[in-house]
Symmetry: C2
């Protein structure tokens, strides 16, 4: 009854880890020419889709802690890719926005990342991609609906995929803008 992991090659978790590692490596390699790390790109992408996000919100969206995101923000700000409000208009949250240079960098980076993602899913059908996406979201939901996982600076307490944190833009349909090239 007490189940163990069994053959790793049959483990969904192992495959998930493997896929995430491969994706990260590919993104890293693709973004390196731009001088961007995956974390930095994630930050830019989030800001591009939702200008004015605070550091803590960005951290949740990128699955890192506030502290890590803080360091990322410092680097990007120093490079002139984003601006942070000097004073908090309300509360302590400092809204962050991309600069023109930041938007330009994001455009290049986003193209690269989209190509990587397209390459990753090239052997799947369009329906297969949606199915995989839905399965992954279901896994996230199943793991996050656990009492023990909530609270604190836990990065996994991130914005879940169809929720409030990114409300402004949810116009796209199931077959988003980047589907079915070819």
């Amino acid at each position: 009854m007490v189940q163990e992991v069994g053959d790793l090659n049959l483990s969904v978790g192992y495959a998930l880890k493997q896929a995430a590692a491969a994706l990260r490596t590919a993104m890293d390699a693709g973004l390196r020419p731009l001088g961007l790390s995956v974390s930095q790109y994630s930050c830019l992408e989030l800001l591009g889709q939702r200008p004015g996000l605070s550091a803590a919100e960005l951290a949740r969206g990128a699955f890192v802690t506030r502290q890590s995101m803080h360091a990322v923000l410092l680097g990007l700000e120093e490079r002139g890719l984003l601006e942070r409000a000097a004073t908090a208009p309300q509360g302590r949250a400092l809204p962050t926005q991309l600069t023109a240079a930041g938007r330009a960098a994001l455009t290049s980076a986003s193209r690269i990342v989209a190509a990587v993602e397209q390459r990753m899913t090239q052997t799947l059908t369009a329906g297969g991609r949606d199915r995989l996406h839905a399965d992954l979201i279901a896994c996230v939901a199943a793991l996050s609906t656990d009492p023990a996982e909530a609270g604190g600076d836990n990065p996994s307490a991130a914005l879940d995929a169809n929720q409030s944190a990114l409300p402004s833009d949810n116009p796209a349909s199931a077959l988003g803008p980047d589907s079915s090239p070819e």
Copy 2:
């Protein structure tokens, strides 16, 4: 033509990252009572399935560099969970094996991880799990069949799911994954 990422909530890559982060967090939380990190558990699990693996082989299996695995091995060896041959029977590779304590720790850890994985996939059907697994493997294969990604200490150059390193494999599971179109 030039595709960008589009809405993050529709991105398979984003969902993959999210799922991997959630899984890692859940595993971390589950393993903490045992005093094991995810990397340490991965190492034990690999050794349990394939005694005598070298550090470099373990590194590939756990998607980290040899150097990182080296540090993990030192820690586990110091805790008496594994033994490394003092001299290389052939080449430079030092075969590594679990001690009795290591096997005991692995049994506990494996149970915990299996429970996490089971929880993660609880909303999927058995066929859905296999499908997800197959899709993930397909993604890994698609990313790794790129010339630019090969070589060096790259952790993503790991043992792919149907290869020599874990001989007991049978990745094409019995339920017939119809989802690998090619």
